[in-house]
Symmetry: C2
Subunit: 195 residues, 2 copies
């Protein structure tokens, strides 16, 4: 009888090995050979699942997106009051624990890598700006956003704030701990909300 292998689980296992290689060695270490070694599979086995490095990286990066989206979906199902819901969703975009820190490191490394390659990764735009724009519109429709604010400018400001906090949480974690991030983010949302 042939061995029963969970292909989806095996692919996720290889994707997670890809993340660890990127975290430890940066994108330049993310070769198919290094990733196979980190995953504990042969080069042949890896090639069975991913025929090119490009295909492997696309899968590994999509998994980062999928994990973040799954966490956001969980928050959305909690039926929280609008402002709390927005705050909780935004917090999923900032690394606050080891696992989201890992995702963020891998994502930033990949985004920077793309600047120096001609490779195309369809559908890998993270669309965070559009998502944040919708959150600002949602706060406005719920009558929470202050009336004299420009939704477009507020979306851009909130997007920059969230990615700036994510970047600093990654690069300067000693100063910018979880409590401090929450204080800045909730303070900002209070400042754009009616009193």
């Amino acid at each position: 009888m042939p061995k029963i292998v969970d292909h989806s689980e095996r692919k996720s296992h290889i994707a997670e090995a890809t993340w660890r290689v990127i975290m430890n060695q940066g994108m330049k270490g993310a070769t198919v050979r290094n990733i196979a070694q980190e995953a504990g599979v042969s080069l042949g086995a890896l090639r069975h699942y991913f025929s090119t490095q490009h295909e492997l990286l696309a899968f590994a990066m999509n998994l980062v997106k999928d994990r973040a989206q799954a966490r956001i979906d969980t928050v959305l199902q909690l039926d929280l009051p609008p402002k709390e819901q927005v705050t909780r969703v935004l917090m999923e975009l900032i690394p606050l624990d080891d696992s989201t820190m890992a995702e963020m490191e891998v994502w930033f490394a990949f985004v920077f890598h793309l600047k120096y390659t001609d490779e195309e990764y369809d559908g890998l735009n993270d669309n965070i700006y559009l998502g944040i724009h919708k959150m600002v519109e949602f706060l406005d429709e719920q009558g929470i956003l202050k009336e004299d604010l420009d939704r477009d400018v507020e979306a851009e400001r909130l997007y920059a704030l969230v990615d700036g906090l994510a970047l600093h949480a990654m690069l300067e974690p000693e100063r910018l701990d979880k409590q401090r991030i929450i204080r800045v983010l909730t303070g900002h949302l209070d400042s754009i909300s009616k009193g």
Copy 2:
């Protein structure tokens, strides 16, 4: 008679070649060999000025800092009203033209590179957080900052906003042009100032 060579100018020329290599190929392309080729000097000539790759990178990155600091000093000498002065200084930290965009790309590439190496680069902390903290204190001392704001939280928020805008200006320049950056930044400073 020996040729007269301006050593400082020659070193800056090599540093600028280093920036171009980093921008075109990322940090992984920033080898002594590639940089010598880009600068149009022999490997021996380059080694005359910089005995190691580490020394060369440290010089090239310090030159990024020095150029930014020189621009900031020029703004400070203009004797502008406090809020305008702060706005203009912050705008020097966001890439708004080709030359500052280049500096920002090189700086981010280098900062990420440092995460994956054990190399030490003394004095290369950019201290932007401390500088922004001082700007918030300055606005407060000048009676401009709203009284109910926490200076520490406002410094962290402004720092995240500025670096988030810098990051997005670099990665998503089509949406986030100069006028939009100025609108977000001046809007933010207005929101923390007395009416």
